[in-house]
């Protein structure tokens, strides 16, 4: 069990904002902190890792206290068992991929973990390349592998996939799931991509202006009425047109445009750019295997 409580006044875009959150995260779960930019998501990750100190705070990880401002306990960043994938990946350009991983190795740690990670995250062919020569997706994979070398208690992912395009993104989500399960990690993901959240998270915390507004499974948080759909996709509205008494809403799901009929009332409440879920329960979809 991981218990996090933070209070800190932050400098936000529109003046001061008080971050006041309390999260209980069960071990080996993958949770997402979701919210607008400036809501305080990254600050939470920085406080967990000790890179930022809260005004008042408490961190307990599997029974061990990392931080308790009321008792003056504050474990140094170096002594917290954290894997952190930064938004800009933070790979060291003076080192090759393999050297980046070696650097993360702890004193007297068995280097077999490096071979294992190079294998799982399929980096073997890139291991002698300097990190400056890699593409965004490759850098992301190296950064993920490097964060896992020290066998952390908590893996922190700060919008790791936001700069990547759809195809690579989906593949990297698979890597994240794979290592999350293999190493029994407790993973905290910061994201504002709904499809990603639905695919990856067990639990989600909706953060708004420094406060947790809602929490639960992704469906509980994002779907106000519970639907048992036969299939469901999340996407965003890219077009909306009125056709007699109904609206035709164009929803972009992945790279596909799906047209959905909406009633006048529904149509009026939906706007271009809204994130929506498309659910069908009236018919049984066909499933066709694609040859790779």
């Amino acid at each position: 069990m991981i218990i996090l409580k933070f209070k800190k006044v932050l400098d936000a875009i529109d003046g001061k904002m008080e971050l006041d959150v309390s999260l209980n995260i069960s071990e080996n779960s993958l949770i997402t902190i979701f919210g607008e930019s400036g809501a305080g998501k990254t600050s939470i990750l920085r406080m967990i890792s000790g890179l930022m100190v809260p005004d008042h705070g408490y961190i307990e990880v599997n029974g061990k206290t990392w931080l308790d401002t009321s008792r003056g306990i504050n474990l140094k960043t170096q002594n917290r068992r954290i894997g952190y994938v930064f938004q800009d990946y933070a790979l060291f350009p003076n080192m090759t991929v393999k050297e980046n991983l070696w650097y993360a190795l702890e004193h007297r740690q068995d280097p077999v973990i490096i071979t294992q990670l190079l294998d799982i995250i399929e980096l073997e062919s890139l291991k002698n390349r300097k990190s400056g020569t890699l593409s965004g997706g490759q850098k992301q994979r190296v950064s993920l592998a490097r964060a896992l070398v020290g066998q952390p208690d908590i893996l922190l992912l700060d919008e790791p996939l936001s700069a990547l395009d759809e195809g690579i993104r989906s593949k990297l989500q698979d890597y994240i799931l794979r290592v999350h399960e293999k190493y029994n990690l407790t993973t905290i993901l910061v994201s504002h991509d709904l499809p990603e959240i639905f695919k990856l998270s067990d639990q989600i915390f909706l953060l708004n202006k420094g406060k947790i507004e809602r929490s639960g499974t992704p469906s509980e948080v994002f779907l106000s009425n519970k639907i048992s759909g036969k299939y469901r996709f999340t996407g965003s509205i890219i077009e909306k047109s009125k056709n007699d008494v109904v609206y035709v809403i164009g929803v972009l799901v992945g790279n596909n445009l799906i047209k959905v009929i909406a009633t006048e009332d529904e149509g009026n409440s939906l706007n271009i750019g809204d994130k929506v879920m498309v659910v069908s329960k009236a018919f049984n979809p066909l499933i066709l295997k694609l040859n790779n």
Partner: protein
Amino acid sequence: MIEWGPIILSLKLAGITTLLLLVIAIPLSYWLSYTKSFTKPVIETLVSMPLVLPPTVLGFYLLIAFSPANAFGEFLNESFNVQLVFSFEGLIIASLIYSLPFMVHPIQSGLNSIPASYSEASFVMGKSRTTTLFKVLLPNIRSSLLTGIVLTFAHTIGEFGVVLMIGGNIPDKTRVASIAIYDEVESLNYSTANVYSLILFSITFIILLTVYITNGRYMKRIWK
């Protein structure tokens, strides 16, 4: 034939100064690049002072300070039997102060240009500040280090005012090349002054040229 003493002394002074400054400037620049201390602007100003202060001002105060007639000079003289006025050691200390900004500024701006996430990533991996500095930060600012080393070396070779003030013109002790040129001109030995000048010109030209060439190549390799 000219005497090589002044040239050798200049090179020796520049070499020692550069080496010592590198050792001093790395921790100082590192501290300046991350500290939020209120003393930072004061320290930064002091480091930069030699850029604008006439060398004679610095030389004058050092002369006063090092003089055995005053407390500090007397203390050095009595406790360590060291006399800094009109000595090579005195020249080194003066050069260290005088060339400080030329070493600190490039290293500090190099360190500032590195994203904060590099250090943070290293700390999260359990590495200390020192390990981070030597394994991650410094290797990624090699061109800034090279710039600092070369500017310091070249600038120390070109030093004149400070040396004249506290070193004087003692052969093989404080008579560096720039002083020798001035001395020869005063004695109307224009041809000897010309030879010294040409040698200094060539040395500094070659050093700077090498830096620009290697830095260019280095940058290309990084961005490729």
